[in-house]
Amino acid sequence: MATISANATISSDISSYPITISGAMTMTKSANPSVGLEETTGLRTKKFTATTAAVIVEHDELTDDKAHKVYIRNSSGSRANFFYVAYHASAAAAGTAETIGKLYGGDWMLFPYNGNTNITVASSTSTETQILEYMVFADGIEAAKG
């Protein structure tokens, strides 16, 4: 059993009374909250030079209906460019119903994922290279069959 700690700190002075949100969690298995996740697809870094949608997490490599976590970061510097991030078999675009949002340069996201459908992305630009970093903390990996 591994111990994976994820901490978020969000500070904002939008209101007159500044807030700081602190979230701390230890990633655990769905069947037992005292047992930590112990599998991962590893941390991947991928360059994108086209706007074609691409699958970054293939759901059939993961056990369905589990407590996986997905971390994604757009490590590019431009706030003008972004990645669409979607929960979809193949598409990621503005009109795709399962598009979650736009991950702008510098932004990150961490979300629970059930492993039932692919996670797809599409870069907003083909004139500038964008770089994505991503990692799945898995609650069950289905080993590839020969």
């Binding site: 700190t9 969000i10 500070s11 971390y71 949002g101 990150w108 903390f137």
Partner: protein, 145 residues
Amino acid sequence: MATTASISITSADLMPGSSLNITASSTLTKAGVTADLDQKESGVMKLVTGTEYRLGPLATEMAGDAHDIASYLYVHNRTTEDATYYVDWGIHETMIGRLYAGDWMFIPWSASDDGAEIEIEPQGGTNIIEYCLFNSDVILPTAAS
């Protein structure tokens, strides 16, 4: 009016040969520009099981093209830890993951239309969530005269 979101993911034993230490920080801005976000809404809610709830506004409750508005959502399931308690979350009726008791999530969100709202559905019993949505250009309903 800056809003900054930082994350740290660490593990010494997930990959014993290479200690994991991810850190990242982002200043949340309006879509495509460097101007800071200037609106937020937050709260704590008890969610009774058996019902699907909408979290945040509909696309038509945001000014202009809703998909061009940058929103960021933080949700923390504060339910006392129990393996049978979690909140299903998704876009419209497509559930994407399970936010178990004690877990948090942080995502960018942009709705192309009113059929792309954030939906949550508690499972196992009454779940308590804390949430904060950072965005801009939300339109309040017009008051009845």
